[in-house]
């Protein structure tokens, strides 16, 4: 039984990364209906920045959260106003999809030019620290990832529920047209949700840098995993997206253990297809949100 528990715990810890990314995607998709395929690439970019500041200046990854998050937020605002502002308002969603793809090509290959193709990872002095509960062994760093994910979900949740802008964001993801008619500045609402989405990519990037090794090609797969997590959890629900991520992590770890590592992807995309076909509102989403867009 110990091994099953270990698998579940590992799955949850892996899934917390997907969860953070999925919350970001959910905000962006919810307001602008953009399938932001570059989310994974942005995560990898911030992972490299964290790695870089650790290697060059010796800054602890967790300290760099305080620089990476504001930086990511500003990058998000910049990207929105430069690239996505007009595209988000268009009926034709191909445009924003391709913009995200273009951004992905661009950033992926810039990373390749700057840092090369060798996978990178950070080796911290406390990387080996392990928490032992009964037969289960958890690396503290991975455990911290779950903390990061929970904290991010809570912050975003409070932002959406308690602030005026957050209320506007929620309204916009219900019905953009009606929101605009209420006198809410829809551009600003989109900008804020996009910037928060990218800031969450920053959080996930720091998390990734502390635990996993990453290379320039990792982004696309990761973005799709985040999409799977989002579909599992259901759009329009912060904790649903997080739960979808955790569930995806568990599914992947179970598949790796019982079927084989090579089949992880088949399992996760298979679940993705089944959910899309039979449960389009996701496990925790509201039915009303799955409508013709």
């Amino acid at each position: 039984m110990g091994s099953l528990a270990q698998i579940l715990v590992n799955g949850i810890l892996l899934g917390s990364m997907y969860g953070i990314a999925a919350i970001g995607l959910s905000l962006i998709f919810g307001t602008m209906r953009i399938i932001f395929l570059a989310q994974g690439t942005m995560i990898v970019l911030f992972a490299y920045l964290t790695y870089w500041s650790f290697e060059k200046a010796g800054i602890d990854p967790y300290l760099s959260l305080f620089t990476v998050i504001p930086l990511a937020f500003v990058v998000g605002l910049g990207l929105f106003y430069l690239l996505f502002r007009k595209a988000a308002a268009l009926e034709d969603k191909n445009v924003s999809l391709l913009l995200a793809v273009g951004l992905m090509y661009l950033v992926d290959n810039l990373i390749l030019k700057i840092w090369g193709a060798t996978p990178r990872g950070i080796n911290l002095s406390y990387s080996g620290a392990v928490l032992v509960i009964g037969e289960i062994r958890i690396s503290w760093l991975r455990f911290a990832l779950l903390g990061l994910a929970l904290a991010s979900a809570l912050v975003v949740y409070l932002f959406l529920k308690k602030t005026r802008v957050g209320t506007a964001v929620r309204a916009a993801s219900e019905d953009m047209e009606a929101t605009t008619l209420q006198g809410i500045n829809s551009v600003w609402v989109c900008a804020i949700s996009f910037a928060i989405g990218i800031a969450l990519a920053g959080v996930a990037g720091v998390g990734m840098a502390t635990v996993y090794s990453f290379d320039y090609q990792f982004g696309f797969i990761f973005a799709i995993k985040a999409l799977v997590a989002l579909a599992l959890g259901g759009i329009g629900n912060v904790f649903g997206a997080l739960a979808g991520g955790l569930l995806l992590g568990i599914i992947e770890n179970l598949a790796a253990y019982y079927i084989g590592i090579a089949w992880i992807e088949v399992a996760s995309y298979g679940v993705f297809m089944l959910v899309l076909i039979f449960l389009p509102q996701g496990l925790f989403g509201r039915r009303g949100l799955v409508k013709k867009v």
């Binding site: 430069l82 391709l98 913009l99 950033v107 799709i224 992807e265 995309y269 013709k292």
Partner: protein
């Protein structure tokens, strides 16, 4: 070949009242016929096998076939498919595996039987995947679903072991029949022929009653259904025909590579570049994919020779610039020229 400039309902009415579309169509048809004639006769006065334009145009034609398929399902019908690379790869693998395992006992090298089967296999998959996806989902979820399908297909071929040859794929060079000569001239002509055929199929489909149904679905699904259009049937049909085109293109490309591996026929390039070509040329226009394919392949061709290694970065920049400044495509530009000034150019 005539042209249907992707006019949506409102414009169409306007045009038929004011302009004479027959004349416009005639001009475009004449222009297209001349272009096809030029390309078809090119090998007689230009060495396509050794000259670099042979490879160039061959690639453009292959991209045009895939792009026309995507144009049909996404441009005309409005269902964004993100699984074209899977269909392309399945087409290439159908050809390669049948040949490699000596199944059909036919000629194999540029064998029409194999090429047709390479279109049939993705067609069947598209129907199987399309029926559940398109009957339950609308809008973005179809894009998600086809993306997931593409990923599953890719992983299945990588993990196929003895059946697909895994990551190394299948090497077809030793299987070349005796007497068959590898001359790009054949590739060039076959690709051109199929690209023209694909264009004619899309043209015929979209200018018939079916096209009317497809466009009605794109404009407003509920309204189309309430007017008696069998929405699911037409959506699945467009999706499957588009998939078949990608599959045939895959088999032609497989004949060019003579080694079919997941990394060269299932890569996301075969997904995103055709989409970019269609959007750059003009979504839902019959000649847009040709224009887009020429331009995009030209950029990546010269990008590759002058800025080796930076070429994917350039592609990224090109995609972004095109989407920022030409979101309705080049064919749309010609139509809306008088109204261009109104749009404003604020890039902030």
């Amino acid at each position: 070949m005539g042209s249907d400039l992707g006019i949506d309902g409102a414009d169409m009415k306007l045009l038929s009242e004011t302009d004479r579309p027959d004349k416009r169509k005639l001009v475009w048809a004449g222009f297209s016929a001349l272009a096809v004639l030029f390309f078809a006769t090119l090998p007689f006065y230009y060495d396509v096998h050794n000259g670099q334009f042979g490879v160039f145009f061959f690639n453009v034609f292959v991209y045009v076939i895939v792009a026309q398929g995507w144009n049909l399902v996404s441009g005309y019908t409005g269902q964004i498919s993100l699984g074209q690379n899977a269909f392309f790869g399945i087409g290439a693998y159908t050809m390669a595996l049948l040949w490699f395992n000596d199944v059909t006992k036919t000629g194999y090298y540029f064998d029409p039987v194999l090429m047709i089967l390479a279109g049939v296999a993705p067609f069947i998959l598209a129907v199987l995947v399309g029926v559940p996806l398109l009957s339950r989902l609308r809008g973005d979820y179809f894009a998600f679903g086809t993306l997931g399908m593409g990923m599953i297909v890719t992983v299945l071929f990588i993990n196929g072991g003895m059946f697909t040859g895994g990551a190394e794929g299948r090497m077809l060079v030793p299987k070349m029949p005796e007497g068959a000569v590898f001359n790009l001239r054949t590739h060039y002509w076959v690709a051109l022929l199929v690209a023209v055929l694909a264009t004619l199929v899309v043209y015929a489909l979209t200018t018939s009653r079916i096209g009317l149904a497809l466009r009605a679905i794109k404009e407003d699904e509920v309204s189309a259904a309430s007017h008696g259009v069998n929405v699911l049937k037409y959506k699945v049909m467009a999706f499957a025909v588009g998939a078949a085109m990608a599959g045939v293109a895959g088999s032609i490309y497989g004949y060019y590579l003579l080694q079919v591996t997941p990394s060269n026929v299932l890569t996301s390039n075969w997904l995103f570049l055709p989409i970019l070509m269609v959007v750059l040329g003009g979504t839902g226009t019959i000649l847009g994919p040709w224009l887009g394919a020429f331009l995009i392949y030209l950029i990546s061709w010269y990008g590759d020779s002058y800025f080796a290694g930076y070429h994917p970065i350039i592609s990224g920049v090109v995609i972004i610039l095109v989407m920022l400044f030409l979101p309705s495509g080049l064919m749309g530009l010609g139509q809306k020229l008088p109204g261009l000034g109104r749009r404003g150019r604020g890039s902030g």
